[in-house]
């Protein structure tokens, strides 16, 4: 039996939680992992939504996994494979033609030259962006010597880019992606395709300032996809946790984080549903910051100003996920694995407008992922729709759900004529459903809105960005921490390393 100080509790069985547990266990801790959810991986795990039809996680974007950070966990030895090639993004034009966007080429567009120039610039930014993504944010609130050193190194890297690149980076980073794309490209479909990827974690459209930051982070931070989607990462992580002796209990709600009553309070134990207590000197929570600090921690232990910061953390969901099962294999236009049906940035903007007024988008655009090859069933699509509010005016009644479903099927029929005829099963997950079924507050898929003031040192707050909390021994490590929900596998590992004092 390990002593309290050797024992660590991880709250949250999403990818970040699993990655944190494996990191802690590999360092010799006795790790207990709890989550009220019953499905390992949470929204990233395998989901059978219709008999015989699975999606490997709810996310269509799978090329942003922080491969460098999870490399130390040896997941490849447990069967995780990475695709040998990058996956193209397809954008459907109004005339039915398809634009194919690859990292270093473009098929079906007029912007070949400007795209190559733009991409070369983004590639030059990639080392710096990846260093930022794969490292804990600096201690901005109270810089220590090492933090200053790390900050200086980043600053130096910034400077060694050359004055022109550096000034360009400073110029664009706060811009609306709409403007940045317009400066670079003629083709509205190319602009729409690239910008569409930055919106899922936000309640804004491409005209909002700062959307460029997210676009740059994604384009510069992109790698290859894991074979089998995020669910494959989840399986490998679960296997690794098993190997390392992590005691995982799902369907067990954490109820309270208790602290020492001595003068220097630190984490003492975690109380679970049913009244059971587990003593531990270390707790890493990948549940959202509000849940962890405002609901679980024993009241009175978090200073008021930190509580106020956490209360200000914005987690408004903006997307619905629509899973579809077909009786036969579905072929998307252009043979796309991932298809964006918005052919102009204006379509993206109009859909985001609806969010402001708590309405459904009049003509939603779809981000369609064809999982037919990965799923056991013959035809499986996962569709993400941006512009769907959690706080729908009038509430999420059956009529409202039906209304959304009709609009989505109409949009699908336009993009993939005839698909509807072979539809055999479906599951519509509104933001309210995402909240209820996956514990995602507000239906927020990325653990907190991914906008300028909620990134890096401000994720989730200046005083919490280093994963430490005011309660000694308690660390935050979920998607609500840097690098955030889009960049899977980052926060869990970085938080665990921090907890281990590295």
């Amino acid at each position: 039996m390990a002593t309290r100080s050797e024992r660590a509790v991880v709250l949250g069985a999403d990818i970040e939680g699993l990655a944190a547990a494996a990191t802690l266990a590999a360092a010799g801790k006795e790790v207990h992992l709890f989550d009220g959810l019953t499905n390992p991986g949470g929204a990233g795990g395998t989901l059978e939504f219709h008999p015989g039809h699975h999606v490997p996680g709810l996310f269509n974007e799978t090329a942003l996994v922080r491969r460098k950070l999870i490399a130390g966990l040896g997941l490849e030895q447990l069967g995780l494979k990475w695709k040998g090639r990058e996956s193209p993004l397809h954008v459907l034009r109004d005339n039915g033609e398809v634009l194919t966007i690859l990292r270093h080429s473009l098929a079906g567009g007029q912007d070949t030259g400007s795209y190559a120039r733009w991409r070369a610039w983004v590639d030059r930014m990639a080392p710096l962006v990846c260093e930022v993504l794969d490292d804990a944010p600096p201690e901005a609130a109270d810089p220590g010597v090492m933090d200053l050193f790390s900050l200086a190194r980043k600053g130096f890297k910034l400077r060694t880019l050359g004055e022109k690149d550096m000034m360009e980076l400073l110029r664009i980073v706060t811009m609306p992606a709409w403007d940045w794309m317009e400066e670079n490209f003629e083709d509205p479909a190319l602009r729409a395709g690239l910008v569409s990827l930055t919106l899922p974690g936000t309640v804004v459209g491409p005209r909002a300032a700062g959307t460029t930051a997210m676009l740059l982070m994604q384009e510069a931070g992109r790698g290859v996809e894991p074979e089998g989607g995020l669910a494959a990462v989840v399986s490998a992580l679960v296997a690794r946790c098993d190997q390392l002796g992590v005691q995982m209990q799902l369907g067990v709600q954490p109820e309270r984080i208790h602290a020492d009553s001595s003068a220097q309070p630190g984490v003492q134990s975690v109380e679970l549903s049913g009244g059971r207590r587990v003593d531990a000197g270390l707790v890493v929570s990948t549940l959202d910051p509000k849940r962890t600090l405002l609901e679980l921690v024993q009241p009175g232990l978090i200073p008021l100003h930190v509580e106020a910061e956490v209360e200000g953390w914005r987690m408004r969901g903006s997307s619905a996920v629509y899973l579809l099962a077909f009786s036969s294999a579905i072929e998307l236009p252009g043979g796309a694995e991932r298809l964006i049906t918005a052919s102009t940035p204006e379509e993206l903007e109009r859909a985001a407008d609806a969010l402001k007024y708590r309405q459904l988008p009049a003509s939603p655009w779809l981000d369609i992922r064809n999982w037919s090859r990965e799923s056991e069933g013959p035809g499986t699509l996962s569709i993400h729709v941006h512009g769907v509010p959690h706080e729908l005016d009038g509430g999420w009644t059956d009529a409202a759900r039906g209304d959304l479903r009709d609009r989505l099927l109409a949009a699908l029929e336009t993009a993939v004529p005839g698909a509807r005829e072979s539809l055999v099963g479906e599951r519509l997950l509104t933001p309210v459903d995402l909240e209820a079924e996956f514990g995602l507050r507000g239906g927020q898929l990325h653990g907190g809105e991914e906008v300028l003031d909620q990134l890096w040192v401000q994720r989730p707050a200046l005083s919490l960005c280093r994963y430490e909390t005011p309660l000694e021994g308690l660390f935050l490590g979920g998607a609500g921490c840097h690098p955030g929900g889009a960049f899977v596998g980052g926060a869990g590992v970085l938080a665990a390393r921090r907890a281990l004092g590295r």
């Binding site: 000034m167 914005r314 003031d453 707050a461």
Partner: protein, 529 residues
Amino acid sequence: MASHDYDAIIVGGGHNGLVCAAYLAKAGQRVLVLERRHVLGGAAVSEEIHPGFTYSVCSYVVSLLRPWIIRDLELSRFGLDLIPLESSYLPLPDGRDLCRWSDGELTRDEVSRFSRHDAEVMGEFSQAMSKIGRFVRPIIDSPAPEPASFNPKELMNLLRLGRHFGDATVDQMELRLKLLTMSAVDFLDEWFESEVLKSPMSVSGIIGTFLGVRSPGTAYVLLHHYMGEIDGAFRSWGFQRGGTGGVSNAIASSARHFGAEIRTEASVDHIMMQHGKATGVVLENGDELSAKQVVSGCDPRRTFFGFVGQEHLPDEFSQSLQRYRFRGSSGKVNLALDRLPEFSCRPGDAHLRGDIAIAPSIDYLERAYDEAKYGTFSRRPYINVVIPSLVDPSVAPAGKHVMSCFVQYAPYDITEGAENWPSKREAFGETVIDTLAEYIPGLREMILHKQVLTPWDIQEEFGLTEGNIFHGELTLDQMAFQRPMSGWARYRTPVRNLWLASSGAHPGGGLMGAPGALCAKAMLGTEGS
């Protein structure tokens, strides 16, 4: 080499051009200011468009005019006379209303009708904002830093600025970062619950930009309300007695006093160039005037593409200038009224002596923005109204009034094309009057005269490209060392002997005078003083 007619010729007699002229003249230079129109002041002018009524045609309130400029140029002696605005009034369509007074106690009472919580935190909010205002002031009072420079002096400056920033409590740091990155609405949401308070506060974040109140990066403009200084009093806005043009006239008088020569109706055709250097100007009447230095008080697009010509500019500079965004988003409607308008929400006039906002809800503001995004002027716009004749009877005949309405959004780029704005002018003016009439019954019958300025008119009449009142959007990527573009934020230009002294240079637009003064100091080599 032939002797020069002048040490410096200033193209454009807007307030910044005049400030620059006054500083140069004060330093003993032979200075000439050339203004195309018959009045001085550019967008800070007063004109008697309708007999007996003086309109502050464009700019209508004074806030950020730098106190050190007032002192250096002895502007009070030359006619500067500011009357503080006492209140900020918000009428609502449902008959409720809110008036924020310069007296904090009165405001708390008003706010507590909507939210006790908000009334309680208002004081704390003002304090926090004023603190940051004090932090930001040195930034608008000195030249922009140059982060790309390896010059040791610049690095030291950067380091000092970093310390200046880092030398704060965590709370203050957090607040500053949030102000820089958040949307005005999100930022206010963290403090207040009542939309009746948040909505009129949030609009200060969008004035002069083509963004909505929910767009990130709009929060920091809230600070401007806490940076304004009149007679050293913090957080105040004011009217110039006799109209905003009086500010320009005071600066012009000061410049003349120090020996500057000022000509109106002297339209510059182009800037003379020799061997890549500016050597003077050629007027539209063909006159050539030579000078050691040429200074532009006009916006960057007009200056470089209009007066210099792309053939004299490095390609890279031209490309950057092409990307510099103007996209004017506002218009102006000035009304002569035969009596004092009465708002149905609250009779009397005590609450009308400051500014009046038509901004009933955040959704209202967002809808106004959405319409503009898709290429039309807002059907129900945000309007900022002032009735200066209430506090300054000199601008209208006895018993009669002038009403100035700043209107947003009126996008320069309408679907029909900007050049078709004149055919929409009437409809635009009517929209504004209709909107106001919902709060002021009988307004239409009081109107003796109206002047409607669309973004197109502002461009054509006042020379502001795309009608942008700030000489280019004041967004984060066009501020400080990036205004108008990185490498050229210190008033110098790629054309030797040509300087930029306008709102298109750091610290930007508004009736501040800082770009003009900082440009003059850069020319004189007295930046530190």
